[in-house]
Amino acid sequence: MTIDAVAGDHAESPMISAARLVAPIVMGYLPVGVAYGVLAQQAGLSMLNTVLMSVLVYAGSAQLIAVALFAAGVSPWSIIATTFVVNLRHLLMSASLAPNLKSWRKWELALFSYQVTDESFAVHSARFARGDRNKATGFAINYIAQVSWVLASFVGFVAGASIPRVEPLGIDYALPAMFIALLVMQTKNRLHVLVAGFTGLAAICLIRAGADQWSVILATVMGATFGAGVETWTKR
């Protein structure tokens, strides 16, 4: 499949295109979801709670951090506050998807936004950039992704550390490689290249300065401001 085909501008059913787009997400979620399940079991969460966190919260890095905090006996309020900070970047993702969803009903938006993750956002923003706003494709991508995450959490809890390592297959590179493809796809001019470099550097500086949990949201605000600023300035 070519990146242009992501638009669905060739004759492909919404479900086929969803299956193709969600495949790298599933490959990425399965090993991380299993790892989460293993750690949750070791931290002392019940099987029901392990699965429920994947159903209710559905946020990879926040869930892994929360499990570590539960294991360390950190207070619920601190865990909730940490989750808020770690997941705040979705605010910007949600806002940037919004202009593409004008015809959607409020309840559809409320349902769709529940499953905005880094990965589903990346795929949807790339689809929208290509003009594919098919609702069925959007929901199918979201549900397949979350179901794979929930199932992986369960398998990790039950199978524990007896699951074979997937590193030899390179599966842990599915998501970085997918981000590379989706980033290239949305880089349409030199200013976008500049913004990508600027934001990447900003995120690296923030992490090196110790602001790990704020790095994505702060770097994104800086990058978008830089891009919009340069565009405004050069157009005058």
Partner: protein, 108 residues
Amino acid sequence: MDQTVVFLTFLGMLAVTYVPRMAPMVALASKSLPEPVVRWLSYVPVSVLSAMLFPSLLLDDREFDFSPDNFFLWAAVPAFLLAWRTRSFFGTVALGMALVAGGRYFFE
């Protein structure tokens, strides 16, 4: 570990995760936003992807890692080239995974 407390903590986590995911979309989707806002938002996808991707390729535990066994970084170079030249979504993912798997098989 008190599983009821764990569950109640989830409800708090659900609230602080769902509201930022939902509120902007529900509030903004039906509005026609001012042009500068639309312009600013148009740079969010490229920015957010870069902010997540580049540190994962270049940093290891907050330090730059340009060592030969940073397979994530070296696999990214051909993956970027392939994505740019062929626009192939699947090809990029497959090449990246194959290179990381190959690197580990031959050099680890």
